[in-house]
């Protein structure tokens, strides 16, 4: 093991990791946006739209991400979109992520107690307003752990983008291996970087879940504190 060599290639790999993080985070955010939209349609929207959403989910979950990436790479230019490699990559991963996020969001929305909808309807809130004001804020906290999982999956899936030559961590590592043949050092360093990325994101999400999106638990806490006084 040549430590000097590892230190020498570290900046190159770190720069490539930045691309990995950018692509994964962007795809997660865009994916959540479209996922929320389609997830809400799946729960509340008109019935004739449900089969389309379901077909989309089945397609994404039933085909390998490599095939989806190739499809984006070959077909987007075909329909006249001259996007950069980075944009194509974000599109492909978003397309993939939406399919998984719809199910996450649907499950979270449907896990909220029915009484909440009924109470909202009873005080005269419309279907969509009740969703926006009552159900969604409560479901947000329950979405965080599976969405973290999804982000970890996206980071891992982003390594597949190396097949269309996006210069992210795996591609950078492969390029270094191809020019120096020192695969042990490079592969170990790559593994460590991926591991650190995924681990730190998990920690970040635990923080989000406990400290930012805890509307429900904080209310329960206040109630508990008030009880002995009253």
């Amino acid at each position: 093991m040549d430590l000097n060599f590892m230190i020498q290639i570290l900046p190159r790999l770190l720069r490539a990791s930045l691309t990995t993080i950018q692509v994964s985070l962007l795809s997660l955010l865009l994916g959540t946006l479209f996922g929320l939209l389609m997830g809400m349609i799946r729960v509340l929207g008109p019935r004739f739209l449900h089969p389309f959403v379901n077909a989309y989910v089945t397609f994404v979950r039933g085909t390998p991400v490599a095939v989806q990436i190739y499809a984006a790479f070959f077909l987007l230019p075909r329909i006249g979109l001259n996007w950069s490699l980075f944009e194509i990559s974000v599109f492909a991963l978003t397309f993939n992520s939406v399919g998984y996020q719809i199910e996450i969001i649907r499950a979270a929305l449907q896990s909220i107690d029915k009484g909440q909808h009924e109470a909202a309807a009873a005080i005269g809130l419309g279907k969509w307003k009740a969703m926006w004001l009552i159900t969604l804020p409560q479901a947000a906290q329950r979405m965080i752990p599976p969405l973290t999982n999804e982000l970890a999956n996206l980071i891992k899936a982003s390594s597949v983008l190396s097949i269309i030559a996006l210069y992210e961590l795996t591609r950078a590592g492969e390029a270094i291996i191809a020019s120096t043949f020192r695969y042990a050092e490079v592969l170990i360093l790559m593994s460590i970087l991926y591991f650190l990325m995924i681990q730190s994101l998990t920690e970040g999400s635990n923080y989000l879940e406990k400290n930012v999106f805890n509307f429900r638990t904080s209310r329960i806490k206040t109630r508990k504190i008030k009880q002995p006084a009253g």
């Binding site: 490599a66 190739y70 597949v160 190396s162 795996t170 790559m190 591991f195 995924i198």
Partner: protein, 227 residues
């Protein structure tokens, strides 16, 4: 975009052969993975601490790094330690590593989800821990594993698409080769996607059959009790 159906039919035999290879490799990997997974998963539950911890490290490593990186490691590392395999078996080994990593967790979770009283009762009638695991806990855990294992098999099939980077002639690789030879992007990609969808759909169907019919002894016992 009009599809060239003649072309799609013409390339079908070639894609179908590649699909068979994909399914073969995935299935072998899943089988080896189950054997390894049950072995390591059981050790993870009843083994001594100095075995449990390395197993957990291995699982964390496999779940925390991309599959592509693990493929590269297997691809480069096996010849280095003197094991020279052809692409087919390199693919099987690489997929087995991935499958086993996830299956250890599946097996562990399933065993730990069995009611504690079962293990205590087994120990109380004088079974050793290993015997209790083999005769009492594993048979009950088996049924709970089936849905997770099917999920894992479809994950393995999807992961096998990445074997194209180490030159295994599976479905994605063959599809790509046809694209580069003919430039019929749309037809090839659709056909490849549909083939994957069919295989994974059929698997889900087989799995629910197994769960409800073959490994249903847990249910059967409860039914007798109710009567």
């Amino acid at each position: 975009m009009p599809l060239d159906l003649d072309f799609m039919i013409r390339i079908f035999p070639e894609l179908f052969r590649a699909l068979i290879l994909t399914v073969q490799i995935s299935f072998l990997a899943l089988l080896f993975g189950i054997v390894l997974g049950i072995l390591l998963g059981s050790l993870r539950v009843i083994g001594p601490r100095y075995i449990q911890i390395p197993i957990q490290w291995l699982v964390n490593y496999i779940r925390g790094t991309p599959q592509l990186v693990q493929f590269l490691i297997v691809y480069f590392a096996l010849p280095r330690i003197g094991i020279v395999l052809n692409e087919y078996w390199t693919g099987v080994v690489a997929l087995t590593v991935i499958a086993a990593g996830y299956e250890v967790e599946i097996v562990r979770a399933a065993i730990e989800s069995i009611d504690k009283g079962q293990k205590e009762a087994a120990l109380a009638v004088g079974m050793s821990e290993v015997k209790a695991l083999r005769l009492v806990l594993l048979p009950q855990a088996m049924r709970r594993m089936i849905p997770a294992l099917t999920n894992e098999l479809s994950n393995v099939i999807k992961a096998s698409a990445l074997l194209s980077v180490i030159a295994v002639n599976e479905l994605t690789k063959v599809g790509n080769k046809i694209i580069y030879e003919t430039f019929y992007f749309f037809e090839v990609l659709i056909e490849v996607a549909v083939l994957y969808l069919i295989v994974i759909g059929v698997l889900g169907w087989i799995s629910s059959y197994f769960e409800n019919k073959v490994f249903a002894y847990g249910e059967a016992i409860t039914a007798t009790e109710v009567r």
